[in-house]
Symmetry: C2
Subunit: 106 residues, 2 copies
Amino acid sequence: MKEKTRKQYEARAKIAKAMAHPSRLLMLDLLQKQEMCVSELTEEVEADQSTVSKHLAILKDVGLVDVRKEGALSYYRVACGCLSGFFSCIESVLQSDVKDRQATLK
Amino acid sequence: MKEKTRKQYEARAKIAKAMAHPSRLLMLDLLQKQEMCVSELTEEVEADQSTVSKHLAILKDVGLVDVRKEGALSYYRVACGCLSGFFSCIESVLQSDVKDRQATLK
DNA sequence: GCAAGACATGGCGAAATGGCCAATCCGCCA
DNA sequence: TGGCGGATTGGCCATTTCGCCATGTCTTGC
């Protein structure tokens, strides 16, 4: 395989990897609806504040969220409008898999 | 957070996680165009055959691919039609991130 | 200045992931 | 029935991920 091709798949995988965590999916879901600061997200996610902060750093690193600093607060929001497409794909796999399992049981 | 909600995000994360690997993204890309057997995929991915087989097991487990056995061969193919939506989302994040970096350099 | 609150970062142990080799399983055919 | 090629599974090790604690940075208000 070409080096360039390999790099491309690694870049894509990095983005997918950033989404591949329950807490980060929840955060993306919340941030899609409204921007929130770290302490608000921490309360929703129910994890240590440092943990949430690191999750946000991961999302920010790949460009999935943006930050806006207002005084001491950091407001995060989703940076791309394509997330609904991603979520609906996941949801569709989830649904078809459920159907498969039901079909298998019959 | 409700137990049920947490489980839902975990189920979604499991699917996202299955996609979050360069080799598996490549395989999904190939299998979207045509069904292929393990040895063919092994050649494309350039990894050990057992490694490829395990990657396929992961994709199959979450319902992203299906298998069809023909004699000694196992033909894999993509099981859902929504993958292009997923890929285009990734691609869009990739593009906007590149733009961001260029903008930052100015 | 400094105390307090909001975030970010370093570090560390536990757990999960990824890759290869080796062994096994399975369908086919001599 | 024995052997062979294709595929899966088990085992093992290196690497990465995850989560918390402790600490550092920065802003605000006294």
